[in-house]
Symmetry: C2
Subunit: 644 residues, 2 copies
């Protein structure tokens, strides 16, 4: 399956200039609001000054995750600087990079908590204490910042740290056979390998992946060394961290979903980098399990708060969905890598589903508030953490400015800043177009320089134009992704309809391309009434509305309260339109529904049905994109709607 | 509202002999299986030997609740001995009573944990540490055991302890203005007052009730004295323990639902005992809030696991319902007291709902396994505590032999053993018949000795006969409860139809009764399709099946899996019958339904509705009493069923 001719390379962020459209607007908000908000929070919570390593007993302790927050923030800034230079952002990062450089030990070790708070516990608990996870995020930040600015300082610091890690961990005599409880360093080491050319980093990543879950179990051994009983692991099972068995024996998505997404991404990286078809096949099995049994329609992953992760197949509750923003982001990472190793649009279909729904919902429209969990239905009072107090306040689920465990905001920011890197792929003779959004992108194919300019108002509109500029006429295969939600499409080259060869979800046009060539793609994009697998009990009798890649929802602000009483007749009219007044212009769906409610209910909770008269009052509903919910007056929200 | 003429007295357990019927069978199981199982668990977990106070560092610590487990077990045995003497049970209790007597301090103090483990912490944390709660359960046990056997030893021990508590706590100079975070001692002190005639116990109970929630807040003060910041209370709000405001300012059911039920029971006791109409009116407000906004159809209370309690009105999720067995039991206690203070059948309707559904479901049919939480829908894998591990096993919710916090099993046992005490009430001139089950009961009314024998197969059958024996013909008012689920009834005296005066939910027959008089009551008892309040979002479009007081459910063992796809047509036939082969003979309901499932779904989670063909296959469903669910092959269960 993996051969060099077929192997696809991502087109890096710096080659894809996004100026407008949905992603252009989100990137502008990311630069103008999100990145400053994150920097403000990082500063005021002490996360950046903690690199001075001057914590003293009695003060608020740095958290063991803080290094990763810095890494993701630096990475987000790096991606943003790649296409939009900003001296102030660069100065902010440079100051922190100076602190980080000073914080590095002579042996290369680098960690806030285990330097300034508990130096005696360095590497004592890989299962829980996140040192390698922290290292990974700093590596990713260092690579992105180096790619954006050419500044090597942080990259060199992280290379020294990687060298140190490489010395400590491995199969050789005297080395520890450990790996991190929270995967992340695996994919980061591959990035570091690409940035530095140092193949040891690739090998170390592969080592971490293959050592995971082996017996005797490292987490057991290190627990015993600490004097802890391994059986007292707080999460009860190594399924939680995907270390219950060696990864090559895993076939299902399990445990904490962000850990899962990062691990599987690293596995796909190693499969692609080393031509490891066995590992790729493992990845495909897990992919199939996840996308066929355990994924929300929003691309959300992990229904359960308890383990922030997966439970069992078809267990996808809506109101109590965890569906962490970071988990959907990790799904984007993994999908991209699966596509690169195995160019098939089915991976990109999932990537698009996550990007336009479960990822984007993680940030407010104005850009400075964030969701950690992304439920698919919301009613007043249901946040199980806040309900604990039993206080009778009229509480609605809302986005927060920050979190104690602040993984999601900078993750969201780096995702939005780097979305251009997910739009295309190139192989020796093929240009894959995966995402549709206005942009100008540059490639090298067949020895020629190719430039493409996309024009579209996707996902609100179904027409896409691509205009080519080449330094010389060049033969290559243009592979346009036909999303799986699209049941009909039309294609024209220079105004003349063409019938394309459809393979692996792509419409292929093979020809000698010249400057001035124009391709137009028209994707049939009606409102779809979507039903779910009959074993998802929570959605029985319900439908969801989707148009293009966007999942819609009903909000109380548009439709009144008690949305459970709103029923969509099976033949009800559905009309999509662009609401120019909403969120800078987004697609909405209006249609006919009825409110089914008793007309003679005075009091009491339960009555014989025969004593109750039900009225049906007509309602013209308005559905808005799920990704923009909870940006107006607080209230109920539902993705899955009763049909009858 | 409360005047002596109207005041109703409960008819004690010892006057009501239950020999057969549903409650006769449950009591036999309670004696033969439940009480021995509880004793076995109490023994093997060290709960009884802990009274030796010989705990040593390094050993498993007694839990701060263990005293209460002993109290409830003794009470359960006491109630059982009242009508069914058993020398072995009595010997078991006597041995423990000897230990308890020896465990008492010279000053009267009595507590396992704060004697043998943390003596320095006696009375340091009334908010969390349950000492008065423990005392209350021991008092209840002592009273029941004394009433059953005439043995005073434990009663005297608890009286000395109550004297000690009465010295320590109160409004006088030098006394602490405290009360327990977990209400229970309030209602227990009223029982102790009745058993001993010592009015100080009644006054102390009233003091605890009226002191609750006053400012400056005792829980704040004691936290500060311990060196804790009161704002760091783990439960976040005193709503959790109904101490957020003085009880006379409370109008809604809040917080931990067992604490709530016990507190409100104590409040109703004090209202009735002292003629406190203000307090009774407060009780009524809270009662209305609870029964009109926050109660499951099963009489379950408290939807949330997080606080084991109430959240907000109409928030009644089925799958994740906590609905602790103890909470439904506490509702029975409270309902009985409300009835006694304000004789209206609306309280007894709720009591009956809880008894036949949310209480009985707490114990297995064979008698030695228990539910803590009583969900109204169950699917494989949903126990949120066990799902944490993410292990892919086919897990179904099931009853357990015991719990670390073992409040429910002995609570259930004492409830079943004492159910005779809830069947009747008497005032100066009225005999109230509240529950229907075969029994022989004795009363004194109007100076005469009256004996009644009930014959019925209620709740599976709708015919009830009452036969009277009197030492002399006596004029009194026979008040037969007409349950609120019953829309039509027939009444006859000595075979001649009579039309009774219906008031406050009772059919009253005033006449001079003589030996040999017979009354027959026929309660119309069709299968009812019940709908719930339109703001209970979880039940929208769903109905429940109820016949008489019994709520029914569908189980997988009878109806196959994926019960969410079973739809009951609005006009479907429903036939009740007695299934002699099931649980010794219980009512079941069969009827016509359809399974709505796709016929062309191969794989995938989400599809356009237009691409899916749905088939409707007819299904003759079988519904069984909810209270007996999870007693056969494990599988899905649903109370609320889709209608369409």
């Amino acid at each position: 399956m993996i051969n060099n001719a077929q192997k696809v390379e991502a087109v890096p962020v710096k080659n894809v200039e996004i100026k407008s459209g949905l992603w252009g607007e989100r990137q502008a908000t990311n630069r103008d609001r999100t990145l400053p908000a994150i920097y403000h929070q990082m500063k005021t919570t002490g996360r950046l000054d903690a690199w001075k390593l001057d914590w003293k007993p009695g003060e608020t302790k740095p958290h063991i995750f803080w290094d990763s927050d810095a890494g993701k923030w630096i990475e987000a800034v790096g991606f943003s600087l790649t296409t939009h230079p900003n001296p102030e952002f660069e100065k902010q990062v440079d100051e922190v990079v100076d602190l980080i450089e000073k914080a590095q030990h002579d042996d290369g070790y680098l960690n806030i908590f285990f330097t300034s708070v508990e130096p005696q516990n360095r590497w004592k608990n890989l299962r829980d204490w996140h040192e390698l996870y922290d290292a990974g995020h700093l590596m990713e930040g260092a690579v992105a910042y180096y790619n954006a600015t050419g500044k090597r300082k942080l990259l060199d610091v992280l290379s020294r740290y990687a060298d140190h890690i490489d010395t400590l961990f491995g199969p050789r005599e005297g080395q520890r056979r450990g790996y991190c409880g929270h995967p992340e360093v695996e994919l980061a080491l591959v990035k570091l390998y690409h940035a530095t050319g140092e193949k040891r980093y690739l090998n170390l990543s592969k080592y971490f992946i293959d050592e995971r879950g082996q017996q005797p179990h490292y987490f057991d051994m290190e627990a015993s060394e600490r004097g802890d009983d391994p059986r007292n692991f707080w999460a009860k099972s190594y399924h939680y961290c995907q270390a219950h068995t060696p990864v090559r024996q895993q076939t299902k998505a399990t445990g904490h979903s962000v850990r899962a997404g990062y691990l599987y991404s690293g596995m796909a990286d190693i499969a692609a980098e080393t031509g490891d078809t066995e590992l790729l096949s493992i990845c495909r099995s897990i992919w199939d399990d996840l996308t066929q049994h355990q994924m929300y329609i929003t691309g959300g992953l992990g229904p359960a708060h308890a383990n922030e992760g997966f439970t069992f197949e078809y267990d996808l509750p809506n109101e109590t969905a965890y569906a962490e923003t970071c988990a959907s982001i990790s799904l984007v990472f993994w999908a991209q890598r699966m596509f690169l190793a195995d160019p098939d649009s089915r991976y990109v279909d999932v990537m698009e589903r996550a990007l336009y729904n479960g990822v984007l919902s993680g940030v407010s429209f104005e850009g400075s508030r964030f969701f950690y969990a992304n439920p698919l239905a919301s009613y007043p009072y249901i946040n199980p953490y806040e309900r604990f107090s039993g206080i009778h306040t009229d509480h609605h689920y809302h986005r927060s400015e920050w979190f104690q465990c602040a993984c999601c905001p900078p993750n969201l920011s780096r995702m939005v800043a780097s979305v251009g890197g997910y739009m295309y792929g190139t192989s020796a003779d093929t240009l894959y177009v995966n995402l549709y959004n206005p942009n100008r992108a540059k490639f090298e194919i067949g020895g020629s320089k190719v430039q493409v300019e996309q024009h579209t108002n996707y996902p609100w509109d179904n027409e896409i134009q691509l205009a080519f500029q080449l330094d010389q006429p060049t033969q290559f295969d243009l592979a346009l992704r036909i999303p799986n939600w699209c049941r009909d499409f039309k294609l024209a080259v220079n105004g003349a309809p063409v019938s394309a060869n459809l393979a692996n979800g792509y419409a292929h046009i093979q020809r000698k391309w010249s400057s001035g060539d124009e391709v137009s793609l028209s994707l049939s994009m009606p409102v779809e009434r979507v039903v779910s697998h009959p074993h998802i009990r929570q959605n029985a009798g319900n439908i969801a509305l989707q148009r293009g890649p966007v999942v819609y929802c009903l909000e109380e602000v548009d439709n009144g309260s008690h949305l459970a009483n709103v029923v969509l007749p099976r033949d009800s009219r559905m009309t999509p339109s662009l609401d120019a007044s909403l969120f800078g212009g987004v697609g909405v769906i209006s249609g006919d529904a009825v409110r089914v409610e008793p007309t003679n209910w005075s009091s009491g909770l339960y009555k014989p049905e025969s004593a109750v008269e039900y009225g049906q009052s007509p309602l013209t509903f308005k559905a808005v994109p799920y990704n923009f919910w909870a940006n107006r007056e607080p209230g109920e929200m539902r993705v899955w709607l009763r049909e009858g």
